[in-house]
Amino acid sequence: MTVQLRDVDFDPCEELAAYQQGVLDQRGKYGAVVSFVGTMRDFNDGRAVQAMTLEHYPGMTEKNLQRICAEARRQWDILDALIVHRVGEVRPHDPIVLVAVWSAHRAAAFDACRYLIEELKTRAPFWKKEQWHETARWVEHNTPVS
């Protein structure tokens, strides 16, 4: 279970490949990899957004994400999980978060990946501040799932 915060842009595909090559010690054991990538839009609530700053609570963020990963491992038969999350200034089209889960069979990987991203969005102490043309505003809530 690995949690990483990044203050510069990252490539989710490269992260996934590098993790499988270098860190994951489950070669031949997993039959499913499910990943989710959250990417910054150039609009929100009908307004154009130029950039966004992601603030977080250093220390609590990492502990909280590790706890969410441990909860997923207790609930589903998964082999490993990876969360990479941006902090700092983010531009439209930049990846914000990568969540990946490895398991022997697909159901556990799908369910655990969904759990991780939804719990992250409601519990991990990150805050988005959007930059509009001349102003900025704090995002007050995430977009509901449905």
């Binding site: 909280n64 999350h85 007050e140």
Partner: protein, 77 residues
């Protein structure tokens, strides 16, 4: 008793500072910490609380050396 207090995001901007420190044996709960640092103002609606980096309620007791954080709803991911 010494307690460190931290504020994040819009609440940090509203407070005009990122942190406070109080040293007062009469402060025994998170609610009392907030009353002390805010000058008895009401806590903004939906504000979340953490004690030592774990979510907590306003009636949670605080002890010497605790870190108490106040922040708005989270919006990561």
């Amino acid at each position: 008793m010494s307690v460190q207090i931290r504020y994040f995001a819009s609440l940090r901007e509203r407070m005009g500072r990122a942190s406070d420190s109080i040293d007062d044996t009469t402060v025994t709960s998170v609610a009392q910490v907030w009353a002390r640092v805010s000058g008895n103002r009401s806590l903004p609606v939906n504000t979340l609380v953490a004690v030592n980096m774990q979510y907590a309620d306003l009636d949670r007791a605080v002890q010497d050396g605790d870190e108490v954080a106040f922040f708005p709803p989270v919006t990561g991911g």
